[in-house]
């Protein structure tokens, strides 16, 4: 039997039982749609996080005290500005080294109050990270060396304290100490779940005085190029270990952060897809079931086809194609439904979704495979029917 003919016969058979075919297909439609939509959401989330991490800057190396390991005890930082000087000597360019000491503080402007993440930083922050101002100026080296009480507000914090008024030159208090606003940041949104628009940057020296400490929490280095990151990482950690032999230091790159996050999200997406895959499996069982019913219903037809010369294989192929047609049609509908749902979710909710060709191809391939796997038993049964018995069946 020609393949085109076999398809035509399969299509006719499905058309003859429209409602039954549709209901059987529905199981596959839902399964495929779930896989496509969930993979799209997983992928979208991953891409968003990657954009956020990459948006921090390029070729970054983040150095913190302690081990970056699950279950490692938190380490109180022994780092001071003297260590930063030592690191700067290793790096050879002050503009490539940023530091931070941060603390949650209450911020007041007149009668308005907000809660902000105060970041004590060097004037180098904008040259290490991507951080743009929309008003005023950033901290200067003099501000840092003299511990001047000046502040640059995040966009959200600025709006909270001053509404639409220009905050430049106005007074605020951070933890009860007066600061003068000299600039505001462009809105940045969230990075890895942290609201970056609620930050206030002040000179690290001013922050240390406010908090009554000499420490800094960590530092970040922007390497001149990707190839130098590893070498810099080793040199910086060595310099710090020499100064603080009792403390472990960890240096992580953006790639490592992305790698870890990517792994976690990959597993998460995989688990979601597997759960959705179970519904696809259930759909496949439904297909198998209906095909067995179909074989029984058409036993006489099978007997006749065999009598006029159909080989066992011809009959088997006919029923297998019917199952495959059922599941692949369901697969295409499921792809449209899942893809449509993902786009709607992306458009209408904060959850990001990104359609990928591979998830569509996978879903289609799996639905075809489901048709083959769950169609084989009914098809074999049909192919092996004894024509004498089949013709006698009423």
């Amino acid at each position: 039997m020609r393949v085109a003919e076999a398809w035509r016969v399969a299509l006719d058979a499905l058309r003859a039982n429209r409602l039954r075919s549709l209901l059987t297909m529905l199981g596959v439609v839902i399964g495929v749609a779930a896989v496509v939509a969930l993979v799209a959401i997983g992928t979208g989330t991953k891409e968003q996080i990657e954009r956020q991490v990459e948006g921090l800057g390029s070729n970054l190396l983040i150095v913190v005290p302690g081990r970056l390991q699950a279950g490692a005890a938190p380490t109180s930082s022994p780092l001071t500005l003297d260590d930063v000087d030592a690191v700067t000597r290793v790096v050879g360019d002050r503009a490539r080294v940023a530091v931070t000491i941060n603390s949650g503080e209450t911020v007041r402007a007149g009668s308005r109050t907000g809660f902000a993440s105060m970041q004590g930083v060097l004037e180098t922050t904008p040259t290490v990270f991507v951080r743009r101002l929309n008003r005023g100026t950033y901290l200067t080296r003099t501000d840092v060396s003299t511990g001047r009480r000046v502040a640059v507000l995040g966009d959200g914090l600025s709006r909270q304290l001053f509404g639409d008024r220009d905050p430049i030159g106005r007074q605020i208090t951070i933890g009860g100490v007066r600061f003068r606003v000299i600039g505001t940041f462009e809105p940045l949104g969230q990075s890895l779940g942290v609201d970056r628009d609620g930050e206030v940057h002040v000179p690290v020296t001013a922050a240390q005085r406010l908090l009554g400490t000499e420490r800094i929490d960590g530092l970040a280095i922007r390497a001149p190029d990707r190839e130098r990151i590893d070498q810099l990482s080793t040199a910086v950690v060595a310099a710090l270990t020499e100064r603080h032999p009792d403390t472990d230091f960890s240096a992580v790159t953006q790639e490592q952060i992305l790698g870890v996050l990517g792994d976690i999200l990959g597993v998460l997406t995989g688990v979601l897809a597997a759960i959705a895959g179970i519904s696809l499996l259930v759909g496949g069982v439904g297909v198998s079931n209906i095909m067995l019913v179909s074989v029984r219903e058409r036993t006489k037809e099978i007997g006749l086809r065999k009598a006029v010369g159909a080989r066992p294989r011809d009959i088997g192929v006919q029923f297998l194609l019917e199952a495959v047609l059922l599941t692949t049609t369901g697969g295409v509908l499921g792809m449209l439904l899942g893809g449509g749902s993902a786009l709607l979710v992306d458009r209408l909710s904060p959850v990001p979704a990104a359609l990928t060709w591979w998830s569509m191809a996978l879903a289609f391939g799996v639905s075809a495979a489901v048709g083959i796997i769950f169609g084989v038993v009914p098809a074999q049964r049909a192919g092996r029917l004894d024509p004498v018995v089949a013709l006698r069946t009423e």
Binding site: E301, A307, V308, G309, D314
Partner: protein, 230 residues
Amino acid sequence: MSASGSAPAIVADNVSRTYELDGVSVPALRGVSLTVEPGDYVAIVGTSGSGKSTLMHLLGGLDRPTGGTLLIGGRDVARLTPNELAELRNTTIGFVFQSFHLLARTTAQDNVGLPLVYRGIGRRERRERATAMLQRVGLAHRTTHRPNQMSGGEQQRVAIARALVTGPSVLLADEPTGNLDSATGQSVLALLESLNDDGVAVVLVTHDREVADRARRQIVMKDGLISASR
């Protein structure tokens, strides 16, 4: 492929068929010898349970004997694979059943063209040949009708056209008039006889004496054996 010249279309030599039912052997045929010559017109008669249906299934290559030798178109059925047997049915045998066995939802011409599907012949040629065959059985005006739009007699003519479309050497008809009123039955028999006049061997299975009497020879089955032959 088909038997050449005057070689017999079907030769059964001491053929038996035993069914295994729940571990018990039930003999349906107990050694039957029979030859169907090209252009033959044979009626197989007998009561129900006499083995005549079993014999017809064997003669048509739908079933295999459990003993003896059966040659269809000169080929030993016992040596053929299921695929080869299917091919043999397609090329050598035409079946006509009591209950017509037409595919519902399928037009007369596509029903008639069905055996050609398994020869890998394209749809256009199948329809041409089917239409010609429907003309031969007097249904040129019914080509696009479906079985439920036709009378019983017309349906049986479609079934006969289907049996003939592959140009078989033997037409096996199992109670072809069983579901028809006597007038319609007569015309179907007349059709089979005219086909026989054209050279196709016809083997009729019937329990109807009147039908059997029209055949050139009769084989009477009883208890799985040929009890009489005239």
